[in-house]
């Protein structure tokens, strides 16, 4: 009852269908704060104090944007969101949430909310989000895109079109696969960040890839990562296991994959990077096609592992922990491989070499180089142990 009173008395308009923004929140101060902020910016705002009232208001006022609190007595925010999108899917909903409920915020994004605000939020943040919501709801965006594609195809335009196609294609794939229900604009946002990731990815690998291809590759990578996360049933405590699987899949932990893990499991980046830095089996740097491990366990150490490390380092031109510029070898020292009788021992992709001489190391390195040139990725040198 008194929600309707609020429309007439406080918001100062009588006609239904003309409020731009409806705020549904059980806290009076929140409603009031939002209304004042929005009205000061020239929006027409209306407020309601629970779900049932809010929905009636939405039907009457037909706003462009609705702000919904998740935790309310009576009908829950989630229900309200579902009903709004049933009533008119073009209405953009923004979720307001208390601190502890980010998980449910992600859920609400999945059922169609376009953004969420964590309480308490600054007025600027509210306005920014509402403005973006109104933009999103406006159907004028699409012709703009096709217009840009239409003019005669001069070089820069063509490049733009190519890029757009790629982005659209990536978007399609993303849309099919993730079906998160993001609005299209968000897909663009997502892709934009993906694209910068792609460039980063390509630069890191030292292979200048077609940007578009890189985006598609990344989408493929993320699909793999999603499969891994699914295998562990989205359990947060499986993080280390998930990272190990990603490491096994890619031979390192690419940044975009970690970003994706962070999004999907809702774990902050810092936690993921702390773990990635802490454990030796996890690598934040790309590694070479072949892994050379030298055991520096105590038994190998007393039998001269340090000398072996020096010899291998000087032959390959890389220090332990490094990968050569051709991405062929990564040299690593490990603490104990448990074959102490062979010490000092070197392992190349699972092949064991007991105390190899300089000549043998040179032969091994050369044979892998040759096999790469031939396009094989496996080589084995018969050496007497």
């Amino acid at each position: 009852m008194y929600a309707r009173e609020q429309i007439s008395s406080e918001s100062g308009f009588q006609e239904p269908g003309i409020a731009d923004v409806v705020v549904i929140d059980d806290e009076e101060s929140m409603c009031e704060g939002c209304r004042q902020t929005l009205e000061a910016e020239g929006f027409r705002a209306a407020t309601a104090r629970d779900g049932t009232e809010g929905l009636k208001l939405v039907e009457q006022a037909h706003p462009k944007v609705v702000l919904v609190d998740l935790k309310m007595p009576g009908m829950s925010g989630m229900e309200v969101l579902a009903k709004i999108s049933e009533f008119d899917p073009s209405i953009v909903s923004i979720v307001i949430t208390g601190y502890g409920s980010i998980d449910s915020a992600v859920e609400t994004m999945k059922i169609g909310a376009s953004d969420f605000l964590t309480k308490p939020f600054a007025p600027e943040r509210l306005l920014e989000s509402v403005k973006r919501g109104i933009e999103l709801g406006r159907p004028a965006k699409e012709p703009e895109v096709t217009e840009r594609a239409a003019p005669p195809l001069e070089a820069p335009e063509k490049a733009l079109l190519d890029k757009q196609n790629v982005v659209l294609k990536g978007l399609e794939v993303l849309g099919q696969y993730y079906s998160l229900g993001f609005k299209e604009r968000q897909f663009f946002d997502e892709l934009r960040s993906l694209e910068s990731e792609a460039k980063y990815h390509a630069d890191r690998l030292g292979q200048v890839k077609e940007k578009g291809q890189a985006v598609l590759d990344i989408v493929g990578d993320l699909r793999l990562v999603d499969g891994i996360i699914q295998k562990y049933a989205y359990k947060k405590n499986a993080l280390i296991q998930i990272l190990l699987d990603i490491q096994m899949e890619f031979n390192w932990l690419p940044r975009h994959c970690l970003e994706w893990v962070s999004t999907r499991l809702n774990i902050p980046h810092t936690s993921i990077y702390t773990i990635a830095n802490f454990y030796e089996a996890l690598s934040l740097e790309p590694r070479g096609a072949h892994l050379i491990q030298i055991c520096t366990g105590t038994a190998c150490h007393v039998r001269g592992a340090a000398g072996l490390v020096d010899r291998v380092s000087s032959i390959l031109g890389i220090e332990p922990g490094q990968t050569d510029s051709e991405q062929l070898f990564t040299l690593e020292t490990v603490h104990c491989l448990g074959c102490c009788a062979l010490g000092p021992v070197m392992v190349v992709d699972g092949e064991y070499y007991s105390s190899p001489s300089t000549k043998q190391i040179q032969e091994i390195a050369a044979s892998y180089k040759v096999s790469r040139e031939k396009g094989e990725n496996y080589a084995h040198v018969e050496l007497s142990h």
């Binding site: 359990k235 947060k236 405590n237 499986a238 993080l239 280390i240 296991q241 990272l243 190990l244 936690s271 702390t274 773990i275 802490f278 454990y279 030796e280 089996a281 996890l282 520096t296 366990g297 105590t298 038994a299 190998c300 150490h301 007393v302 039998r303 001269g304 340090a306 000398g307 072996l308 020096d310 010899r311 000087s314 032959i315 490990v334 603490h335 104990c336 491989l337 448990g338 074959c339 102490c340 009788a341 062979l342 010490g343 021992v345 392992v347 064991y352 007991s354 001489s357 300089t358 000549k359 190391i361 040179q362 142990h385």
Partner: protein, 625 residues
């Protein structure tokens, strides 16, 4: 596979398996532990299968890939049953001869047998000195079992102890038996397992968890891995019995990612046990439920510490937590948790089967049973040895290990890994016993035993361990993180010839502080390698500091390689093997090392022919030499 619903089902299955097996049928067992893997045992096993098929003998001879036999020095080890003929250093090329001579003509291939110091050939595995002086209880079954085949374990009486515990004993009685046996934790600390179990059992909260710690991080130690690789079911059975005694229905096996074979074999074991109904709901129809999850560790030494390991299972960084309240009261997810190491769990089925009294007959007053050591370093018989508690270090090094290779002089033995210390010649008669070793300034540890000879520099050894620990320190406690870094800096200075007077005292002072002010055992024991080397080999520290000299000829900055022109025979092997091309020919056809280019890797010394011995190592700097 049939699901076993009662103790009778299990017994019947065992009888069925045994009925199908002829004890007199020849069986070729090929050691397939990681050590032999490195020697190429896969190829040997494959060759046996092919050769036997070629001769159409597959119905008459079995081939089995077993767990580690322990004699890693002589891999690939092949033992032929029932005669127990032991062949060492077997290569795929030897296989056809073995099949023809031994399996068909019933003769031995003498060149592959063990030869003792007097030139006598030894046929039976158990008669080889390396094995003869051991008491292989826990580790002994490895050689009969294909770890990927549960039937092999069941045939040997496996899961009999579980059945006995479930049907003939109350959980309290099981606990009582383990307490009575005085089984002490084999992970290093030696805390009585029974007491740990009891406090977990009595802790008020539910659920309770049990964990197998297979995060064996000590460099140079691999006994837990070989046990889990070779006989995973014995660990699983021990865990089940423990869970029953404690009242837990959920367990974890924490295995290092770096141990792929242990990981694989324990996975297979868990799967097969589930199929048999030895894991899961209503085990053997007893009403006891138990599930196991395998958790891969990602390589961090400190994660082997109990609270750190639990933190890792929860998905956090594996850092230790303060243990004002024991993990047995508040452990994994703040619930009562009992964590024991692989070997400790593997002891349990034996104690239940044979009783506490039998167990107590082995060992010393306060250390009962046997202990598996990984005997490595400068030793003739590298391998895994299981010895009764109370045996002296001398017996292990000389009788089992066969002494030091190449006629070098023994210097020290290091036990306890990075947390332990070194024991010099004068302390070789110390018995293997938790308390005696601690009193001697080292510790039992998880079982690493590294033998060092006169060419091992003790300062370098201390530096090595300190570097390892500084790297592996999680960084939570400042004394450990910064203290170790400073100790490493001082040790680096000393080994680089830049040591100062007072460095030794400074190291001792820092050590004391780190020991006092660190939270977990990593920090509390970190200075041990430094302190024990100072205690027993202070003269080596002094030689480095006062004379810038490394008596053992190890510290690179303090040594010089030099080719004696009078002895050089001009073969050029050294030049061919020099990675930095530092060796060149002189006018009079001998070779010379350009000291500026030399990285002191020692290649030239290794390849210089025995008859020439022209390359010499000087324990002093070139400039002064």
């Amino acid at each position: 596979m049939p699901t076993l619903n009662s103790a009778i089902d299990l017994e019947k299955l065992r009888k069925d398996i045994l009925a199908k097996r002829d004890p007199n049928k020849p069986c070729v067992t090929v050691c397939s532990g990681t050590g032999c893997h490195a020697y190429g045992c896969e190829g040997v096993a494959e060759a046996f299968v092919m050769e036997i098929n070629r001769k159409d003998l597959q119905a008459k001879i079995d081939v089995r890939k077993t767990g580690c036999h322990g004699f890693c020095e002589r891999g690939t080890v092949v033992v032929i049953f029932p005669e127990e003929i032991c062949y060492l250093h077997v290569k795929p090329d030897d296989v056809s001869e073995i099949v023809q001579k031994t399996l068909i003509e019933k003769k031995t291939v003498d060149r592959l047998l063990y030869q003792d110091a007097d030139g006598q050939k030894i046929v039976r595995e158990g008669k080889i000195p390396f094995y003869k002086h051991q008491n292989r209880i826990i580790f002994g079954n490895n050689r009969f079992i294909d770890p990927k085949n549960t039937d092999d374990y069941i045939a040997l009486g496996g899961y009999g102890a579980l059945s006995k515990a479930l049907f003939e004993m109350t959980p309290k009685k099981v606990l009582q038996e383990v307490k009575e046996a005085n089984l002490r934790g084999r992970g290093g600390g030696g805390f009585p397992a029974g007491r740990k179990w009891e406090s977990t059992r009595n802790a008020p909260a539910e659920p309770k968890y049990v964990i197998v710690n297979a995060d064996e991080g000590d460099p140079g130690a691999y006994m837990d891995r070989s046990l889990l690789e070779g006989n995973p079911h014995s660990v699983l059975e021990g865990l089940l019995i423990g869970a029953y005694a404690i009242g837990s229905n959920e367990g974890y096996i924490y295995v290092r990612e770096e141990y792929p074979l242990a990981l694989e074999n324990s996975k297979v074991a868990v799967e097969q046990a589930e199929e048999y109904g030895l894991l899961g709901e209503n085990i053997l129809g007893s009403g006891f439920d138990f599930d196991v999850t395998i958790h891969r560790g990602a390589g961090a030494f400190v994660s082997g510490e109990s609270s750190a390991l639990m933190s890792a299972i929860e998905g956090h960084v594996g850092e230790p937590r303060p243990k004002y309240i024991h993990t047995s009261i508040k452990g994994l997810w703040d619930k009562p948790t009992c964590l024991n190491n692989v070997e400790t769990w593997a002891n349990v089925p034996f104690i239940i089967n044979k009783g506490a009294d039998w167990f107590k007959r082995i060992g010393t007053e306060n250390s009962k049973g046997t202990k598996i050591f990984s005997l490595v370093g400068k030793i003739n018989n590298t391998g895994l040895v299981e010895v009764p508690m109370g045996i002296t270090l001398r017996e292990i090094v000389y009788d089992i290990g066969g002494g030091i290779p190449n006629g070098k002089k023994f210097k020290a033995v290091q036990t306890g890994g990075p947390s332990g210390g070194v024991l010099p010649e004068s302390m070789l008669d110390v018995p293997v016993d938790f308390d005696e070793l601690t009193a001697a300034g080292s510790m039992m540890g998880s079982g690493g035993m590294i033998v060092m000879d006169e060419n091992t520099c003790m300062v370098d050894t201390a530096r090595y361990y300190t570097e390892f620990l500084a790297l592996e320190s999680c960084g939570k406690c400042v004394p450990c993180r910064e203290g170790l870094r400073q100790m490493l800096r001082i040790l680096n200075n000393i080994t680089n010839g830049e040591g100062k007077e007072g460095d030794i005292e400074l190291l001792q002072e820092l050590s004391e502080f780190i020991q006092e002010a660190s939270l977990c055992a990593l920090g509390q024991t970190a200075p041990n390698p430094v302190l024990s080397t100072i205690r027993h080999f202070r003269d080596e520290y002094e030689a480095h500091i006062n004379q810038t000299r490394c008596p053992a000829g190890v510290c690179k900055e303090l040594i010089t390689y030099y080719i004696n022109p009078d002895d050089c025979i001009g073969c050029g092997l050294c030049a061919k093997n020099c990675p930095t091309d530092a060796i060149s020919k002189t006018e009079d056809k001998t070779y010379i090392i350009e000291q500026e280019k030399c990285i002191k890797c020692g290649s030239c010394l290794t390849v210089c022919p025995e008859k020439a011995k022209a390359v010499v190592l000087k324990d002093a700097l070139y400039a002064r030499y």
